[in-house]
């Protein structure tokens, strides 16, 4: 499923905030932070079907 943009011009700020949050972490710590963040975002989405669709879409690109 194609995902349209919902952040608009705030996208750059969100991206920058993500990178800033990773500064100073080891790679293992970064992965753990990403895991936490993904689970928190899934909870915020709050809809199991949508989250499962997103999981499938993200996974599909792993096999490119």
């Amino acid at each position: 499923m194609r995902q349209d943009d919902k952040l608009g011009t705030e996208g750059d700020a969100v991206y920058a905030a993500l990178l800033t949050a990773h500064e100073g972490l080891s790679e293992a710590e970064s992965h753990r932070m990403n895991a936490r963040l993904v689970l928190m975002l899934a909870n915020q989405v709050g809809d199991a079907d949508t989250v499962q669709q997103l999981i499938a879409d993200a996974r599909a690109l792993a096999e490119d």
Binding site: Q3, L7, D12, Y15, A16, L18, L19, L61
Partner: protein, 531 residues
């Protein structure tokens, strides 16, 4: 054809033989910023003297991307049309990941503007046009005049200037330091210039080539992340006039800049991009860059303008364009102060407004540079996954950052900006629109003017010109060309514009009192305006 650099003549300045009368403004640096400021002041009847240690225009193309807002400012300064005619107009950009195009963008899909989103024009042409315009205005341009010292006396500045015939001193009410990223004025004052330095080296090359590499006659901006011809790095391709193409190649942090900037190293890199097309190498340079600024742009009687005040990475074309917005902001204020029409805090508002504008440019260019040059494996992972997703997902395309191109800075919320609920918000720069005889920006810029759109009566306020659009009245009126001007500004509404084309306030029901209030606020409320 390679550009023909003509040296400007050195003329022994009068100060060598006797004291000169005090100049209203001394401008250090005859680059685009210094020249534009001198022209802006001259058009307001303020004489300046421009001092430059060199005597030729910019060597190498350097700043090439001139944004719409800059062209509109140059229009007011009398060189915009010439730049547009000579420049290469482009508005489509394409971003590639590897060999595949991930998306393209059209910068200004809208009609009804005198100037396009961007033109590309070598800095040496811009300087040539500005110098000719300055000469036309009789501006005192002094080449081979190197400022080696200055002293702020509180109510004026004394400069010491070296020439081939010896030194002299010169007094000026204000000194405008337009002396570039390495500003000797700034260094002499020992002012900290702090920010982020990026470790990556970039190679910048101009080649002359008859065949277009774009595969179309329309010039575009092409940006590659990890192109097949330059593994792991980024690359940018742009067209300039005279069949000159600008190529920017990221080299990574560990390269030797001296070794890289040699023909033997550069030719094979270019062959990989350009294939068999014959080309001539015109100019090249290897550089690193910083995003930094002065804490303040105004120090007593010394005002910093352009790169001397702030530097950014080139991605987004926010260096030269940001500097021209400085000039636009400063010119009318300095003139108003020298004519005693401006308030005490008018010069301070240059500092406030342009520090704000500079921070916006630094933020955007830092983000673009961070996207292009990931600092850690995790940053590289995020970046690469954005690029991979961008092939499929529109949201990820929006995150791909090869430079957020320079847009006019909005001054909304600044102390000298008023209120209004028109579609063009107070603080925004003028949005152009077609009139029956020319363009809105030609009618509005350069003065305080209250513009009435459609059915609205404009009151008389001393110091403020009036202009009616699509109405007839006792004051000057012009006819619109179609409805675009009303679609952009509304009907039955008046806008007060500053001389730099920014909206001060808008009024559904403009009374003399309300307009007068907004005008006084824009000029610095602390001082009574003398009529």
């Amino acid at each position: 054809m390679a550009y023909d650099y003509q040296p400007f003549p050195y003329v022994p300045p009068p100060g060598l033989t006797g004291p000169e009368p005090r100049h209203p403004v001394a401008i250090v640096g005859a680059g685009p910023i210094g020249l534009a400021l001198a022209i802006d002041l001259a058009q307001r009847g303020v004489a300046s003297v421009v001092l430059d240690d060199n005597n030729v225009v910019s060597v190498g193309s350097r700043a090439i991307c001139w944004a719409k807002r800059t062209l509109e400012i140059f229009d007011r300064l009398g060189v915009g049309e010439r730049m547009l005619e000579k420049g290469v107009t482009w508005q489509v950009g394409r971003n590639f990941h590897g060999a595949d195009e991930i998306y393209s963008f059209d910068l200004l899909p809208e009609d009804g503007h005198k100037y396009p989103a961007f033109i590309n024009l070598q800095q040496y042409y811009v300087e040539e046009y500005l110098i000719e315009r300055a000469q036309e205005l009789g501006i005192d341009l002094r080449f081979k005049n190197k400022v080696v010292a200055h002293e702020d006396k509180g109510d004026h500045v004394v400069l010491t200037v070296e020439t081939p015939d010896g030194s002299y001193t010169l007094e000026a009410s204000y000194l405008a330091a337009c002396d570039g990223a390495k500003s000797p004025t700034r260094e002499r004052m020992g002012l900290p210039f702090e920010g982020q330095t990026f470790e990556e080296h970039f190679l910048i090359v101009d080649v002359e080539m008859a065949d277009s590499p774009f595969g179309t006659d329309t010039p575009e901006r092409w940006f590659w992340f990890r192109p097949p011809f330059h593994p792991g790095q980024s690359a940018l391709l742009h067209k300039q006039p005279d069949n000159i193409y600008r190529i920017d190649l990221q080299l990574g942090p560990d390269t030797d800049p001296v070794e890289e900037a040699t023909e033997e190293k550069v030719r094979p890199r270019l062959r990989a991009i350009l294939g068999d097309r014959p080309f001539r190498l015109d100019w090249m340079s290897v550089y690193k860059f910083r995003c930094a600024r002065l804490e303040r742009f105004v120090h007593g009687r010394v005002v910093f303008v352009g790169d001397s005040a702030h530097v950014v990475s080139p991605f987004g074309a926010r260096g030269g364009n940001g500097g021209i917005q400085d000039v636009d902001n400063l010119g009318w204020k300095l003139a108003a102060i020298l004519e005693s029409a401006g308030g005490n805090d008018l010069l301070e508002s240059y500092n406030t407004e342009r520090v704000y504008g500079s921070d916006e440019n630094i933020l955007n260019s830092t983000r673009a540079t961070n996207f292009m040059t990931p600092k850690s494996p995790i940053e590289a992972m995020f970046r690469d996954e954005v690029l991979r997703m961008a092939h499929h997902h529109p949201f990820a395309r929006r995150l791909v950052n090869s430079g957020r191109l320079s847009l006019p800075c909005s001054l909304a919320g600044m102390p000298m900006i008023g209120t209004g609920d028109g579609p063009v918000a107070p603080g925004m720069a003028i949005i152009d629109a077609p009139l029956q005889d020319g363009w809105l920006l030609e009618q509005v810029q350069g003065r305080f003017v209250l513009v009435g759109f459609g059915d609205v009566t404009l009151p008389e306020v001393t110091g403020v010109d009036r202009l009616g659009i699509g109405q007839s009245a006792e004051y000057p009126c012009v006819a619109p060309d179609g409805d675009l001007v009303f679609e952009r500004y509304g009907r039955g509404i008046a806008y007060l514009f500053r001389p730099d084309g920014h909206v001060v306030a808008s009024f559904q029901n403009p009374t003399a009192e309300k307009v007068q209030g907004a005008y006084q606020r824009a000029l610095g409320a602390k001082t009574q305006v003398t009529a």
